[in-house]
Symmetry: C2
Subunit: 325 residues, 2 copies
């Protein structure tokens, strides 16, 4: 049986939309149908520059007109975080599925407002940059507002939750010494997360230091390390290192066994996998009348809860913040 | 000019002494001359099992008799930490140079007592193990006392200081949730270190999780990562990864340039390099009448200061502890 093909529209022409429009073109069960910007010219230029399939792809000069197009099943929203509540709720009112950029909201209250309106299926992509400390929307309190915490911290928080099998920590404590800009937006910060069973995680996020992304999970009997867990070094490959039951040799001059370096080869870029998963879930609702799957919104809400707790801990002078789900 | 050869004695037959006796044999400017244990039989068995050069190497049935041997230039002391002050001071009284296992003391007060007595040249080797939670000396409050912090934490603290060019942090804060045994000895803990200029470091140490050692230093323009900085995976090689001015490609689907994987090949095992450095410094004093070099004791004292601060922060309920040099 052929997969149901889901027709996507995009509102907003942010840089990151270029990556996701390619992913929509690559995903076998997705189709790029329309793009909207605040002007027809901007939308047309974006469509042309990003290989929108002519002549089918439609061009809209306003977000509202795209949302009114009955041929659109799902809308990708790469707008600044502070506009998420407004536009995500409008997409929901128009009875369309939504693929929303991270962070979902400025806080878990906004997250829940969107979730209540939408029963969304959300998943997330990267939008990192670092040559932008003066002008980028991510350092303006009225636009993205959460700065490095929302833009960069989202990923290590999610990776940590993944490693903890999505069990929420009991307590979150921000590290001292976060860096804020004059407007109070976080440019760099860190935190420790503490679980009831004794698990501990630390995270750092920063707009101020060299591109670095890793997750190391250390268990009783083994260790996993990934160095490119957000944007892959190379989109065809996924390298990771594992070690298990390693100890020292007799004279403590070497390891036995050595950690192993592993590689997974992938057919589709990760964001195309994401679009395929999204379109599969939407297809399930559209064709089979399935109820919206809660897996991704639940994971995202947990991520946002921790993000909120880090921000609260900073505001409260690095006091521990208890997580109540 | 040939290097001056320094004659070593070892007091105590700990496991780690096997590694260092090999290093003394391998170092071109060092010679293994004597071993002492609390019985002649034990010392003889140790010498035989560890290839002490017959017939020159002497066997002593007490530590004191080795210290009285005028042919010994330097003494390696792998005794439990709680015995360091007593034996290190005695070695100093006998006017011999001392190579002392880490951690130097149970606290910086003990460290200074040893330093006052000795003007030592100290450097350190690894003695990790993990299948010993019940019986090993490192979990007994009357022997090593500092548990995972002294035995395992010493290394990440030193690595962090190395990355900070040995500048002391201003503040040290233990992470909540350290694991202690019934006797109050630390089995696992963590801390964050904060410098005046905004640098931050975090460290974890544990007797409870899989063998893992890494240091990642992230600067404004580059990142360095080493996965085997304490005991090498393989003693002939030193692998490390660096990246510099990496950013994403145009579509944010990959990195440009990729981090580079590098390898240094070494002639001598690292502990033999340490013994060679130690013997070089001793030779300089012995032959040239040089003053004791302060590089290593200074670095070790800073390490001990931070170790003390982590312990103090745990004892004070995770309050920040200011470092005064």
């Amino acid at each position: 049986m052929a997969e149901t093909v889901i027709r996507f529209g995009i509102i907003g022409c942010a840089e990151i939309a270029r990556k996701i429009s390619r992913a929509i073109i690559l995903a076998p069960n997705a189709q790029l149908s329309a793009v909207a910007s605040r002007s027809v010219e901007k939308a047309a230029a974006f469509a042309k520059a990003n290989n929108f399939p002519p002549p089918d792809a439609k061009i809209y000069g306003s977000y509202e007109s795209l949302l009114d197009d009955p041929d659109i099943d799902a809308v990708y929203v790469p707008l600044p975080t502070s506009l998420h509540v407004k536009w995500a709720c409008l997409v929901a009112q128009k009875k369309k599925h939504i693929l929303l950029e991270k962070p979902v909201g400025l806080n878990v209250g906004e997250f829940d407002k969107i979730l209540d309106a939408c029963e969304i299926h959300s998943t997330f992509t990267f939008a990192g940059d670092e040559d932008f400390l003066k002008n980028d929307i991510r350092v303006k309190p009225d636009l993205d507002g959460l700065g490095a915490l929302g833009d960069a911290g989202w990923y290590p928080i999610r990776a940590i939750l993944w490693a903890a099998d999505y069990e929420l920590p009991k307590t979150v404590i921000a590290l001292r010494g976060p860096v804020l800009n004059e407007a109070g937006v976080i440019l760099a910060c860190g935190a420790s997360l503490h679980w009831e069973d004794g698990k501990v995680a630390t995270l750092h996020c920063s707009f101020l230091t060299h591109l670095t992304m890793f997750v190391t999970a250390i268990g009783t009997k083994g260790t996993l390390h990934v160095d490119d867990f957000i944007v892959p070094f190379n989109e065809k490959e996924a390298p990771y290192a594992t070690s298990s039951k390693s100890w020292f040799n007799e004279l403590v001059t070497g390891w036995e066994p050595l950690p192993s370096q592993n590689m997974v080869f992938v057919d589709l870029p990760q964001e195309a996998c994401m679009v395929r998963e999204f379109a599969r879930l939407v297809g399930n609702i559209k064709v089979n009348g399935a109820k919206p799957d809660q897996t991704w919104p639940t994971r995202s809400r947990k991520t946002q809860l921790i993000l909120d707790a880090v921000k609260t801990s900073i505001e409260r002078g690095f006091e521990p913040v208890e997580i109540a789900n």
